[in-house]
């Protein structure tokens, strides 16, 4: 574990703080995009963990709330590009649901930058890695998420 020394905003007490990021990736485009990033050996931080779902529309807003509750500092949802959804319209549903969820999270005081929706195709390994790096940097800058956490997790 090492301290990211470029990060100014890391709370002092967190020392070797590394944010925890959950990425939901649809099986047909983004998960394959992550595989492409892997095959091309494009690096992104190891604190990003991917959960495979059949389609971005499978992601229930509750999953994202649960992730924050359990200590995640950022959640990113990746799906196929609009019009490319394997299930035709799934990513449109995901987009609408996330718009609503994000505005609710905003209301709850969770910074807008902690959540993100990104369209990444199977061929866009470079975009996947770049997006993840950029997102991790954003979360690093924001520091630890303190809202929504289940206090019992802190014990």
């Amino acid at each position: 574990m090492q301290l990211n020394d470029t990060n100014q905003a890391v709370p002092a007490e967190s020392g070797a703080y590394k944010p925890l990021i959950v990425a939901f990736c649809c099986n047909w485009c983004s998960y394959a995009g992550a595989d492409t990033a892997g095959s091309s050996r494009l690096s992104y931080p190891s604190n990003i963990k991917i959960i495979r779902v059949p389609c971005s529309c499978r992601v229930n807003p509750l999953f994202i709330l649960r992730a924050f509750q359990r200590g995640a500092d950022g959640v990113i949802l990746c799906g196929c590009h609009p019009g490319d959804c394997h299930y035709t319209t799934g990513n449109y549903y995901a987009r609408r649901r996330m718009t609503l969820l994000f505005s609710m999270l905003d209301y709850l005081g969770i910074e807008r930058e902690r959540t993100r929706v990104e369209w990444i195709s199977a061929a866009e390994g470079a975009k996947f890695a770049a997006t993840m790096n950029e997102f991790a940097e954003t979360i690093n800058r924001l520091g630890k998420n303190r809202k929504l956490r289940d206090l019992r997790c802190e014990i």
Partner: protein, 661 residues
């Protein structure tokens, strides 16, 4: 509690170089429920697979976690492996520690730690896995082809050739479609009728093919392998079995003022009519809007002259129910009527015609028997102006945004045919771009310019005005940078093509998606161009987008081969990772039905036992053969009744918990 086995793959050095595989196996071995954990050089090799099989038998494993490459690579392989050891193939989870860990990280400690987390998440998920079985559904070995043009006929003939039954439903009284109306075909200039009418005869003669002409598909329900269609047979008022097609009735009918659809309304036909001499079936049809007998009850001349006794004024509409394994949409196209283009005078001058009308004027079976005449005067025109891209490639509300694709070629054909028959007639073509990709297409266009002397002018006609005994055409010549004022006797508009209006209704009943122009969407623009995203629905011809005859025929045959692929199976196996609804939780709100892109969810009344109370409720039921398992319904369900097998909410939550721990 599951008994889980964990298998960590080295993938040679691909994983082992950056991940301490032994440490991963050791750490995961301590997870609750894990009874066996090991690492091995190549898990996907025969010996690696045997290792898994042996462990399943020796330790009585009920779930397997494999930490290896992407599930997109070897999930199917390992499912087979555990299945051959007697485990349900869906009791497997794969942690992708190669593409998403070892390959992207350099620090060994960091990568090992991540691999352990990923393995933990997979273990947490497999704890909640349930055995799933692929469902088998039988296949009705008959195909439905909607539309009897060249696309529909070719598809039907190819399917019939493979030995399967095919029904063609054609809304017009005859099959043949637009190709039967064409005079010649590009780029060979062979006679369209001469190649399409034998196909029509072949189609009718094929014992595997049943043609429902003058009929429409009223409703389609069901799913791949098991469609049920209701076909509405419109009344012809003629007994098709008895009618010999002699045509005597058509010579005696006193109602002669209906526009002849086959000739694009350029001349008239009688109320009882046979669309054209080579129609299939060659049977007369009475137009109820024009028939004096049907309207007033008096007349009955056709009945008197018919020697076969085929006339039946009492004929009623009939609904026919048939079952099919696959559906092919071949609804074709129409050419727009450019009535909104007041600048081209289409509405006001009979000498301004669309190219399909011009096709009839040039055809030997057309209203002028193939003699080129100005419709207003009956005289040979001295100068014909062809205008390209009328209604295509525009963004204004009267325009279609796409290129209609065939106009450049048929206009070259028209001009060439005119010059061929009447060298003294001047032909001028106004074009924006000449688009002639295709085998021998550009050569064909160049031949029109170089050999036949057709004037091609880059520019657009701004307006057409009625002059003294001629049409005055005002246009721009962009290359000469001048405005032209020409006198023409005829103006031919290459009007845009659009999908047949019946397509939208059929798309809705098949839940086959369409684009904003009402063309059917394909399942994948490159790799699945003849399949609709809806399983069991295939696309043939212009209904999917503008295309010429050879392309239509290729697509028709491609669709047929896809249909044969379905019909040749006795059973279809479906993906078991699909949605299912808990009837005790379902509140009957219909929201899942609304979001389902496949129409897989229906509602039915079911006896539900909830907290000891038996009652009948309206609950959601997922059709397992149609559901594709996207999960859109699971999120939309407000009562949490809907869940997705293989990606259940509690499984994903368990993964989230494991990752965030």
């Amino acid at each position: 509690m599951q008994k889980i086995g964990v298998f960590v793959c080295w993938c040679g050095s691909n994983i082992a170089a950056t991940v301490d595989v032994a440490a991963v196996a050791e750490a995961l071995g301590k997870q609750p429920g894990v009874v066996y954990a090991t690492d091995y050089q190549y898990m996907c090799s025969a010996s690696g697979q045997n290792l898994i099989k042996d462990a399943i038998r020796d330790y009585g494993l009920t779930g397997v976690v494999i930490c290896a490459c992407s599930p997109r690579m070897h999930e199917a392989t390992f499912r087979k492996t555990i299945s051959s050891a007697g485990l349900n193939p869906y009791m497997l989870e794969i942690a992708n520690i190669r593409e998403q860990c070892s390959w992207i990280h350099k620090d060994r400690e960091e990568a090992t730690k991540k691999a352990i987390t990923m393995g933990t998440a997979a273990i947490a998920k497999v704890q909640l896995n349930t055995p799933l079985t692929q469902m088998k559904s039988p296949v009705t070995k008959r195909a439905l082809v909607i539309g009897g043009g060249i696309a529909g006929m070719q598809t039907a003939l190819d399917i019939a050739d493979a030995g399967f039954e095919v029904d063609i439903v054609e809304k017009k009284p005859t099959i043949g479609g637009k190709m039967a109306q064409l005079d010649k075909t590009f780029p060979t200039l062979d006679c369209s009728s001469c190649i399409v009418t034998p196909k029509m005869v072949d189609t009718a003669a094929n014992e595997k093919i049943t043609i429902f002409s003058y009929a429409e598909v009223e409703n389609v329900t069901g799913f791949i392998g098991n469609f049920k269609a209701t076909i509405k047979q419109k009344p012809r008022y003629v007994d098709a079995e008895k009618c010999t097609g002699c045509g005597l009735c058509t010579t005696k009918c006193p109602s002669k003022k209906s526009l002849n659809e086959f000739n694009m309304g350029l001349n008239t036909r009688t109320a009882i009519y046979i669309p054209f001499a080579q129609a299939v079936p060659l049977v007369a049809t009475i137009d109820p809007d024009a028939c004096i007998k049907l309207k007033t009850g008096k007349c009955g001349l056709c009945e008197k002259v018919c020697e076969a006794g085929a006339i039946d004024y009492a004929q009623k509409e009939e609904l026919i129910e048939r079952e099919y394994g696959a559906v092919v949409v071949a609804t074709g196209y129409n050419q727009i009527k450019p009535v909104q283009y007041e600048e081209y005078l289409y509405n006001q001058s009979r000498d301004v015609v669309t190219s399909l009308e011009f096709e009839r004027l040039m055809s030997a079976s057309g209203p002028t028997a193939g003699h080129l005449q100005c419709p207003s005067t009956g005289k040979l025109p001295r100068h014909i102006v062809f205008i390209q891209c009328v209604g295509s490639r525009g963004t204004a509300c009267r325009e279609k945004p796409y290129c209609s694709k065939v106009c450049c070629m048929y206009t070259a054909k028209h001009a060439m045919l005119v010059k061929d028959h009447y060298p003294e007639v001047e032909c001028t073509v106004f074009y924006i771009d000449v688009r002639t990709p295709g085998k021998n297409f550009d050569e064909f266009y160049r031949r029109a310019v170089e050999q036949y002397g057709v004037h091609y002018i880059k520019g657009m006609v701004g307006k057409v005005e009625q002059g003294d005994g001629c049409l005055k055409v005002q246009a721009s010549d962009l290359l000469d940078n001048r405005q032209l004022h020409l006198e023409a006797d005829m103006v031919v508009l290459a009007a845009a093509i659009e999908p047949d209006p019946s397509a939208r209704k059929i798309g809705t009943m098949l839940t086959a998606s369409m684009d904003t122009n009402d063309f059917f969407s394909e399942a994948h623009a490159k790799l699945r161009p003849v399949e609709s995203p809806t399983a069991g629905v295939f696309l043939s011809g212009m209904c999917q987008g503008p295309k010429d005859i050879p392309e239509t025929v290729s697509q028709a045959s491609a669709a047929a081969s896809k249909v044969i692929g379905v019909l040749s199976k006795d059973f279809l196996l479906s993906n078991p990772c699909i949605a299912h609804s808990d009837p005790t939780l379902c509140n009957g709100c219909s929201q899942c039905q609304n979001v389902c892109a496949y129409g897989a969810i229906s509602y039915e009344d079911q006896m539900v036992v909830d907290k000891g109370v038996r009652e009948t409720r309206r609950v959601a039921v997922v059709n397992e053969a149609i559901c594709q398992g996207c999960g859109a319904c699971t999120v939309t369900c407000p009562s949490g009744a809907m869940d997705l097998k293989g990606f259940a909410s509690n499984q994903i939550m368990a993964e989230v918990d494991a990752i965030c721990n």
